[in-house]
Amino acid sequence: APSTQGALLYLSQYGYLGATHINKNNSGALVDEKTFQKGIEDFQMFAGLDITGKLDAQTIEAMSLPRCGVKDKVGTGDNRAKR
């Protein structure tokens, strides 16, 4: 089951932390609580869970499911430079 750090990695890997990128090698990356909570909420919404904003049992269970490696949030294009 993912710890908070595991959850951060998960959220980053599947696109829930926006531009914040976390991997196993820079696990000390600073993510404020608000970003983490927003990431959890977005994941819960996407996975059809109760939206608590907390790393609760249902969220941990959903994060433990086998899944596709493609990001759930592939970006809205908001961060693209104007041509």
Binding site: Y14, F46, A47, P66, R67, G69
Partner: protein
């Protein structure tokens, strides 16, 4: 559904499998991958052809770090990933997984591949839990069908199918029906024999099974023979041997139904068969215990109930509900008594949903019309059970009292 933002400019796509998994035969992988592509060509004009040399979609089974900076993580966790068209469309599968075909154990290659190819074609993950493009692997689904969310998504990218397919067009309906039409449609009316021979059915109307195929035809099975029903009687030229239209299928079938994926399932003893139209859809028979875990052998009948689109199996005094998308597909509260279905008798012979939206059950000489909205056999005059010979098979006279 969600679109990533890129798509292929051409509709005739080529693919190649450059690296195979170690635990499956190449031929099994080849056929499963093609079948997974067919999921998408079923509803669009896209075609997918295996090829060598330059291809659009390259498919590989890889372990750990495999050169794209997105390493796999061993068994479980991430199963596969694929690239959107703008990034090349390639699909990579974690070779550490135990990939399987038509089995509840391991990870089902067909379902995962069909999902990944959705990415290869430009679909992102859907937040519709039942959709193929939902990100989570839900376990083996023996009666897989593409969710309408996926169909809308792929057709938003590539348009609806315009070319005729050799396969039947599948019914995308979710099992609900238009109530306004139900009341306007009539019961099968009595009519004299219409050129076919209904002698067997008139002499002994007890049938083995009745079902409607994906193209809307209704068939009755009895022994080694089958009849096609018209709105009022039986069609000319029947009966015919079951094997003449469903090669490989034995006689004395216990039950049959057509699921919303357009495939027809036949049950006999401990085995079942799956057909697309008249063609057996793979290597059958298979064990009911493997494909429909939780359902007993030697069932009496099975229906897809319009009330919720789930599959109901009946045997003796009990029934089971099978939900292919649930784990387990049969909840522990089953079996339940058939008496829960108000007005239905035990030991049914056959059942199916007819074109008027009602579910009909047959037993011995008679039949019952079940009102899915009221959840009870209709209380109308003449009362049910009515005589199947007169009302369904076009036999000359209804016996007295029916």
């Amino acid at each position: 559904y969600a679109l990533q933002g890129s798509r292929w400019k051409v509709k005739n796509l080529k693919y190649r499998i450059t690296k195979y998994p170690s635990n499956l035969k190449r031929s099994a992988v080849d056929s499963t991958i093609q079948k997974a592509f067919n999921v998408w060509s079923e509803y669009t004009d896209l075609t997918f052809t295996p090829s060598s040399g330059n291809v659009h979609i390259d498919i590989r089974f890889e372990k750990g770090e495999h050169g794209d900076g997105d390493p796999f993580d061993g068994p479980g966790g991430t199963l596969a990933h694929a690239y959107f068209p703008v990034y090349g469309g390639d699909a990579h599968f974690d070779a550490s997984e135990r990939w399987t075909v038509d089995s509840y154990s391991g990870t089902n290659l067909f379902q995962v591949a069909a999902h990944e190819f959705g990415h290869s074609l430009g679909l992102s993950h859907s937040d519709v839990r039942e959709a193929l493009m939902a990100p989570f692997y839900r376990g083996y689904d023996p009666v897989f069908s593409l969710n309408e969310d996926d169909i809308y998504g792929i057709q938003a990218l590539y348009g609806k199918k315009t070319k005729k397919s050799s396969r039947p067009s599948y019914d995308n309906d979710d099992g609900d029906y238009d109530e306004s039409n139900v009341n306007n449609r009539k019961e099968p009316a009595p009519k004299p024999s219409s050129g076919g021979s209904n002698a067997d059915l008139c002499k002994d109307p007890k049938i083995d099974t009745i079902f409607t195929s994906a193209d809307g035809q209704t068939y009755v099975f009895k022994g080694d023979k089958y009849w096609r029903l018209t709105d009022t009687s039986i069609a000319p030229g029947y009966p015919k041997p079951i094997s003449s239209n469903w090669p490989g299928l034995p006689g004395n079938i216990d039950a049959a139904f057509t699921y919303k994926n357009g495939k027809t399932y036949f049950f006999k003893g401990s085995k079942y068969w799956r057909y697309v139209g008249s063609k057996m859809d793979g290597a059958y028979p298979k064990e009911i215990s493997a494909g429909f875990t939780g359902i007993p052998d030697n069932i009496d009948t099975a229906v897809v109930w319009s009330g919720n689109g789930k599959i109901y199996f009946y045997k003796g005094t009990k029934f089971w509900r099978f939900d292919p998308s649930a784990r387990p597909p049969v909840k522990s509260v089953y079996p339940k008594p058939i008496s829960n279905w108000e007005g239905l008798p035990d030991n049914l012979d056959a059942g199916f949903q007819w074109s008027n939206g009602y579910t009909y059950f047959f037993k011995d000489n008679g039949y019952y019309r079940f009102n899915d909205k009221a959840f009870a056999v209709d209380r109308v005059s003449p009362a049910f059970p009515r005589d199947s010979r007169y009302w369904w098979f076009g036999c000359e006279n209804a016996p007295e009292g029916t």
